[in-house]
Symmetry: C6
Subunit: 75 residues, 6 copies
């Protein structure tokens, strides 16, 4: 499934970089919790919890920093 | 809507960089919780919670670091 | 009000860099919670909570890292 | 056991980099909690807790950033 | 008082770098909570709380990263 | 005691880098809580708490990032 492969950190622009950062965050959760049903149940929980959404967005911010560096900040 | 596009990380000065960092943090939350009503309800919660505001501002700080690097620190 | 403008990340030395980092952290909170009364009430809470002060100081540490890089570490 | 050795941070692509980041996170936990039974019991707890999975994925994100730099972002 | 001035990030070796990182973390807390009595009371709390000590040590780790870069990693 | 000195961030390979990162994390805790008995009591607590082990491993990850840079990523 193409949604799971990350062949490159290169993206066209910051927006796609942010999408890739979200994807990396999700793949990491998947690596630690391979059970799709469990992940779905957890997702229903954290989507409603501001504190957990904020924590998840920090993970995305760290990945975005990596991706931005990989793209020379899209300069 | 222009408020959702991030075509570049380049800003005129640190202040605009901070604004862009806040925007990136919000776009990330939006990517994870696409339901506008839900986000609004959560926002009403976290705006009143110092702990969550602080956590959110750490996300912004990480994005600001990325943006500052993209702008060669506005030197 | 000059207290709100951040025209440059350049400071004379690490101490002023730390002051600027604290200021950036506060401006971020302000961007997310524009209501001054609310911020004041929250401040009264988090100033007494070690856990929140520590969390806030991590935000400052991330900003200080950015500012230090902007100043070539004041070498 | 090969699963415990990390002779290099070089990987073929971002996907393997993410796998290595997960491995580094696990080796760190192992260094701090050498008792395998304890780790297993804890794992059963955190796998079900979204907040802890998110926290663990931030650790992975930090390691991924290091690994990406080691691989010159796989460019 | 000399304990409050940070004129340079340059240190002789990693050990002194770690000491400076602890000092920066403390100065940050001081900037946010200027009341010495309050800080002392809070210190008595967080010194006994593993979770808060760990959080504080993450702040130190971020500052140590900055200081290490300032010293070209003491190479 | 040699276990407390950190004369260099240079290590032979990533594995030793991870060990040094764990050591830096412990020295930081020691700097903030010099009482050995207290640290031992706290250790018994956090070793059993997945959330605290994860938080501690993030501190290690930040130190590992610094150490990896100091070693040019062992390339």
């Amino acid at each position: 499934m193409s949604g799971n492969s990350v062949a490159t950190l290169v993206t066209k622009n910051p927006e796609e970089g942010l999408e890739l950062a979200v994807k990396l965050a999700r793949l990491t959760i998947k690596a630690m919790q391979p059970d799709a049903e469990m992940r779905k149940a957890q997702r229903l929980v954290y989507e409603k919890e501001p504190a957990q959404l904020i924590a998840a967005s920090e993970v995305v911010a760290v990945h975005f920093r990596t991706i931005a560096a990989a793209n020379n900040y899209w300069l």
